[in-house]
């Protein structure tokens, strides 16, 4: 990989999903070919200088031959609200691909994907790459209610999907960590890949350590440059020094980071 590029991308479609979330489809051929699962892009979410910083969003899915990249995101504030108003033909500047993604071992294996809420965003491209490398994939998705379970059908293309919701409206009634514990009681896995809020990642981290199953965790932190230059996005490393989430991450091995969730 030769480093990120700056691209001004045309919106080819945007669909509104449940729970204030959106699926954005952009024409970005170079990005589609150069990105790997777990990487992200910094999208300019406004005209000119307001908001001033770009917003980090994970690469959700790519269609290489068509030259398109998908982002799955939730409206949270000013930037994502602006993004949600874009429609076919609008142009969005972005910088990418950025960061260190998930490891896809070409030797294959059995992989368990754990996506809590919007944490499923980077996992779809991962599921497809794992399936390409002959991995067996099972995806666990968690949310408060059924409407927060995003794109389960897309994940079913690559393997089984199991869900957990707080109110039991989809799948098991309970948390994603309950579902994870149950899944690990029932079957064995070579690797866990997780993305979601810090308490979930902390839970996955301790399960990974206790059960000796390697895990990779995708973290979030506030970012300015996205390329490793400003030292603004650091998280605590296991050996006490700070790691840049945009450069050494956003995907870390479970033993590499100190999560205070």
């Amino acid at each position: 990989m030769n480093g990120p590029g700056e691209f001004i991308c045309r919106v080819s479609a945007q669909v509104s999903l449940a729970s204030d979330s959106y699926l954005l489809k952009l024409e970005a051929p170079t990005l589609a070919w150069t990105t790997s699962p777990g990487q992200f892009a910094m999208l300019q979410c406004g005209e000119g200088l307001d908001p001033f910083l770009r917003r980090p969003l994970s690469i959700h899915q790519v269609e290489r031959k068509r030259g398109v990249v998908y982002f799955l995101y939730q409206v949270r504030g000013q930037g994502t609200r602006w993004l949600a108003k874009r429609s076919k033909g609008d142009m969005i500047p972005l910088l990418g691909p950025l960061g260190r993604g998930f490891t896809v071992n070409p030797a294959g294996g059995k992989g368990l994907l754990v996506g809590a809420g919007m944490g499923v965003a980077p996992l779809l491209l991962l599921a497809s790459e794992l399936a390409n490398q002959q991995w067996e994939v099972v995806t666990l998705m968690g949310a408060q209610t059924a409407s927060g379970i995003l794109r389960p059908d897309a994940f079913m293309d690559y393997g089984e999907v199991r869900t957990a919701t707080d109110d039991g409206s989809s799948g098991m009634k309970g948390t994603i960590l309950d579902l994870l514990n149950k899944e690990l009681d029932d079957s064995s896995y070579d690797m866990i890949f997780a993305c979601g809020p810090l308490p979930v990642l902390k839970g996955v981290q301790s399960i990974s350590i206790d059960q000796g199953i390697p895990a990779e965790l995708s973290l979030e932190e506030r970012m300015a440059c996205g390329v490793g230059a400003c030292l603004g996005c650091t998280c605590g490393g296991a050996d006490g020094e700070y790691l840049r989430v945009c450069q050494e991450g956003p995907v870390f091995k479970a033993g590499e980071v100190d999560i205070d969730g």
Binding site: C225, A229, G240
Partner: protein, 303 residues
């Protein structure tokens, strides 16, 4: 092509556009995006004598037309910088200036000593960092103290000494006069303005360090005013900075009296900002029949 070149206290640059300390890494982070050799000069992250871990996260917070940062001078220390980072920076074929942030006068002198003969072409004395408890801004708010640091460094080194000042003072002109009198070869202004943001849901400060430094377009008028006043009070060249995003922004600083400009936060909004600024400076000169950009330095107040 107009002549954009500048000789900043002996540092020869093909154009006046530098990177602002702490915002541009080693330059290699941006090397896949544009040709770094197009820049006038590169300035390093603030260096300290010993490695520094930096402040606890979150370290940045967006604000209207800018951001607060409280990185806290995370850096590998001057020795590791010289062996591990500097070669990469020198590889771009652009003058490299080291930003040094001692917590005592002795530390500044020691770093100046270690950096001479390494390929560095100038030192930027950072007595204006708001994010550290000792040294930093504390050394840069009292004219006598600032002058003492500068005098000691100037005595130690043959390199041009640029002093970076904080705007968090009652009278920046008085400080500028003091460090110019102590032998500074040039000045950089401005460093960030101190500020904070509170998360009303958590009812807690957003930054791990509570307080941080404000940068970006929000502070640009403060920077232009600082340059305007100081340029008329001292006769050493000035590097102007604070929210520069376009050629027009850079020209404001130049017309106020800056010989060179530095681009910082703008990279976060547009990673190609420096290229844009250089192109727009050239276009402005062509459009207005200016042969030499340096002829415009201070033109807003010169007769």
């Amino acid at each position: 092509m107009a002549d954009l070149s500048v000789n900043l206290a002996g540092i020869k640059m093909k154009n006046p556009v530098m990177s602002a300390s702490g915002t541009f890494g080693s330059g290699s982070e941006y090397a896949s995006l544009f040709d770094i050799s197009k820049m006038g000069a590169l300035v390093t992250k603030g260096l300290t004598l010993r490695p520094r871990a930096g402040n606890k996260p979150p370290r940045i917070c967006e604000t209207p037309a800018g951001l607060l940062n409280a990185v806290g001078l995370q850096n590998p220390g001057v020795e590791a910088f010289i062996s591990d980072v500097l070669p990469e920076m020198l590889g771009f074929g652009v003058p490299v200036i080291a930003n040094i942030a001692g917590s005592t006068t002795d530390e500044f002198v020691e770093m100046a000593r270690q950096l001479s003969g390494t390929g560095i072409v100038g030192l930027e004395i950072n007595i204006s960092c708001p994010n550290v408890k000792t040294g930093g801004m504390a050394l840069g708010t009292v004219p006598e103290v600032a002058a003492q640091v500068v005098e000691a460094v100037v005595k130690e080194t043959d390199l041009p000494v640029i002093v970076k000042l904080t705007p968090n003072v009652t009278n920046i002109v008085e400080l500028a006069r003091a460090v110019a009198g102590a032998g500074a070869d040039a000045l950089s202004l401005i460093n960030t303005l101190v500020g904070m943001v509170i998360d009303v849901e958590q009812r807690k400060p957003v930054l791990g360090n509570v307080v941080g430094g404000l940068s970006g377009p929000a502070i640009r008028p403060v920077g232009v005013w600082a340059v305007w006043q100081v340029a008329q009070a001292v006769d050493i060249p000035i590097v102007g900075m604070g929210g520069i995003c376009t050629g027009q922004d850079a020209l404001e600083f130049i017309l106020a009296g800056a010989s060179a400009v530095a681009v910082g936060s703008a990279f976060f909004n547009n990673p190609m900002a420096a290229v844009r600024i250089i192109t727009e400076l050239d276009e402005y000169c062509t459009k207005h029949g200016v042969d030499k950009l340096q002829d415009l330095v201070g033109a807003a107040w010169k007769e």
